[in-house]
């Protein structure tokens, strides 16, 4: 009885109490919100405004409407960077399959699994400049890789200097450098697959392959999608260091990705307005891909 007595006056002031509580809650959210607005939203809007000007470093740019975007549409370097981006995204299944398969093998308990786990993760701790320097040596015309291939009678290939192989070499190096993180995420995901579910499949006569395909991979689906999103964002925004050290976007434009093009336009050509326009396109591209992936993810949220 005492409870309802104390509750009644509270209910009378309910509206006031709730708004007070809401104000208080807002206070807690504020610092994070402020950071997001100041460091994400404002630059985004600023970038968009900048992309509508012909700013050239020191001079305040004049408003030129969508001229920068029109120029982009005609810029062959931008076209090439987009084609390279599409090729890069086309390799996404490899970026997911390689760490997933290795994680499954380690999870199954291959001998030395812990050792492999450490070794695979190790490159993720290296800076891209160091990774780039290592592979600059390995992939040189007289580098160790070509020396190794010579043992099998395969002639030297200029991995980084040939426009046919440069981008693929770059992708391979980035994959080597970063798949350890995805592998760890998959291992964490695998440890949450209930073992009695796998045992149930075994009792029902499912083969190893059937168990992978029908039980383990569907259970891992949210993890796969998470890795896909993170990897996509990673390859589109974190390859600058490697490109800079290994190929500088060349030969020609064969390894120029939008990210690198932004830097060229900003740093070398001193055209912040134009660079901002490329940034906006890259932003929209990534937002689109991420949105599509999140949609797929939320569709399976009730599994």
């Amino acid at each position: 009885m005492g409870v309802s007595k104390t509750k009644q006056p509270l209910r009378k002031r309910g509206g006031k109490a709730r708004s007070e509580e809401r104000r208080f809650a807002f206070l807690f959210v504020m610092p994070a919100l402020l950071l997001v607005v100041v460091f994400r939203i404002v630059p985004l809007i600023w970038g968009f405004v900048l992309s509508l000007t012909d700013a050239r470093g020191v001079t305040e740019g004049a408003f030129i409407g969508f001229d920068n975007y029109a120029e982009l549409a005609r810029d062959p370097a931008f076209h090439d960077s987009m084609a390279n981006t599409i090729l890069l995204i086309a390799t996404l299944p490899i970026w997911i399959m390689v760490p997933m398969l290795l994680a499954i093998l380690i999870h199954q308990g291959v001998p030395g699994g812990k050792f492999y786990r450490a070794v695979y993760f190790f490159p993720a701790t290296l800076s891209s400049v160091i990774v780039g320097s290592i592979f600059n040596v390995l992939l040189r015309n007289d580098g160790q890789l070509n020396q190794f291939l010579e043992l099998f009678g395969i002639g030297a290939i200029d991995w980084l200097g040939n426009s046919n192989t440069a981008l693929l070499s770059l992708i391979a190096v980035q994959l080597w450098a970063t798949f350890g993180m995805s592998l760890l995420i998959f291992l964490a995901g695998l440890s949450t697959v209930p073992s009695d579910m796998i045992e149930a499949a075994k009792l029902e006569g499912a083969s190893m392959l059937q168990t992978f395909w029908h039980v383990i991979i569907p259970t891992l689906r949210p993890i796969i999608e998470f890795v896909a999103v993170v990897t996509t964002i990673g390859v589109l925004t974190n390859m600058f260091g490697l490109i800079y050290v290994l190929t500088a976007g060349g030969p020609g434009t064969s390894t120029t990705l939008p990210e690198f093009l932004i830097w060229i336009e900003l740093g070398r050509m001193n055209r912040p307005g134009y660079a901002a326009a490329i940034s906006m396109v890259l932003f929209v591209l990534m937002a689109g891909i991420a949105y599509a992936q999140v949609r797929i993810m939320s569709r399976n949220v009730n599994v």
């Binding site: 209930p194 009695d196 579910m197 045992e199 149930a200 499949a201 075994k202 009792l203 029902e204 006569g205 499912a206 083969s207 059937q210 029908h214 039980v215 569907p218 259970t219 689906r221 399976n300 009730n302 599994v303």
Partner: protein, 351 residues
């Protein structure tokens, strides 16, 4: 229907042996319950029969065939897991038909078997749902349905009801009993709950620390336990054990009172330390040995009251088919000497 024959079955993990030579014969169509406290090896034993654990030593025969090294799927068994182990991304129908689909069975056969199982378990309206949209009891029925679809010789249940709330557990217990009557398959059921064991089993196997303590029908275990462990494990509330001392060939002394035990076949040696076992429900007799009990707490459940108290320093519980009330400080208990079970200090039965 298949018989199962286990001979001197052993299981070791490295140097540690956890199942110490278990032998057991299970008749076709029999409902056998493995019961025991946690860590007694009952689940390990079941998993060895299922083929999920390797057999270190000994023989396992199902339907007359040695199964030690046969793949789990080829043993003619189906298992229901404690966690249900349903595939969360598949509908109920797909969960139930998984094994058949993996074996590429014809579609009409799959449909027929799934429908049959769904009818038996009243799952028809749920076939298109996913496990996440089901209640615990419904999930448990799907798990059983998945086992039925496999049309096994032997059903294995690994603590199937322990994740359900008390009310649902009773309901599912009845369902499983009915299922056994309908299908009349051989069933092995693992539980730590002696009530489930008593109500479901044709025969109960009581396990402790990797050994079989006793095998028998529920009534045999209740009336004629081989040792103090079985006597204490079967029956609820558990049997009272009082320190006793032999003071004649057919009588013992408990809390200063001499209790004649004319039904003993053995002659007791004077002065031997013993344990006298008497169940709470047997302390309400009209004539026999009378003792006064100092009451600590009376738990009134409505139909029965469990009275906790002491007699000469020994704690015990007495059951009364009546309201006792909280004010009672002393209670006369009375038991027939033929309800007394006598055990030596090591727990072995003295008959």
């Amino acid at each position: 229907m298949s018989n199962i024959s286990i001979t001197d079955l052993r299981k070791s993990y490295g140097q540690v042996e956890v199942i110490h030579g278990v032998s057991l014969d299970i008749e076709p169509g029999e409902f056998v319950v493995f019961v025991g406290p946690s860590g007694c090896g009952k689940s390990t034993l079941l998993r060895m029969i299922a083929g999920l654990e390797d057999i270190t030593d000994g023989d396992l025969e199902i339907g007359g065939t040695l199964m030690n090294d046969v793949e789990p799927a080829q043993r003619g068994i189906a298992m229901v897991f404690q966690s249900y182990a349903l595939y969360p991304h598949m509908t109920v129908a797909d969960n139930m038909s998984f094994g058949l689909r993996m074996a590429h069975a014809p579609k009409d056969e799959i449909d027929r078997k799934v429908k049959d199982a769904a009818r038996i378990l009243q799952l028809e309206p749920l076939l298109d749902r996913k496990p996440a949209a089901l209640s615990g009891g419904q999930r448990q029925r799907v798990a059983i349905g998945r086992a039925i679809v496999r049309d096994p010789d032997v059903f294995l249940f690994d603590e199937p009801l322990s994740n359900l709330d008390a009310e649902l557990r009773v309901e599912m217990r009845v369902q499983i009993a009915k299922l056994h009557r309908t299908l009349s398959n051989t069933m092995i059921y693992v539980t730590h709950d002696q009530t489930e064991a008593m109500t479901l089993a044709d025969r109960i196997v009581v396990l402790r620390a990797g050994h079989i303590e006793q095998v028998g029908t529920p009534i045999e275990l209740y009336e004629d336990p081989d040792n103090a462990f079985v006597a204490g494990f079967i029956g609820s509330p558990r049997m009272n054990f009082l320190n006793a001392r032999a003071n004649g060939p057919k009588s013992v002394e408990v809390a200063g009172r001499t209790i004649p035990l004319p039904n003993l076949t053995a002659d007791l040696r004077d002065g031997t330390a013993l344990q006298l076992g008497i169940r709470p429900e047997h302390l309400d007799a009209t004539d026999g040995v009378r003792l006064m009990m100092d009451v600590d707490v009376a738990e009134d459940l409505g139909a029965t009251t469990f009275v906790h108290g002491t007699v000469g320093g020994e704690t015990l519980v007495a059951e009364r088919r009546a309201h006792v009330g909280n004010a009672v400080r002393e209670l006369e208990i009375c038991f027939a000497p033929d309800k007394v079970r006598l055990f030596d200090p090591d727990g072995a039965r003295v008959r």
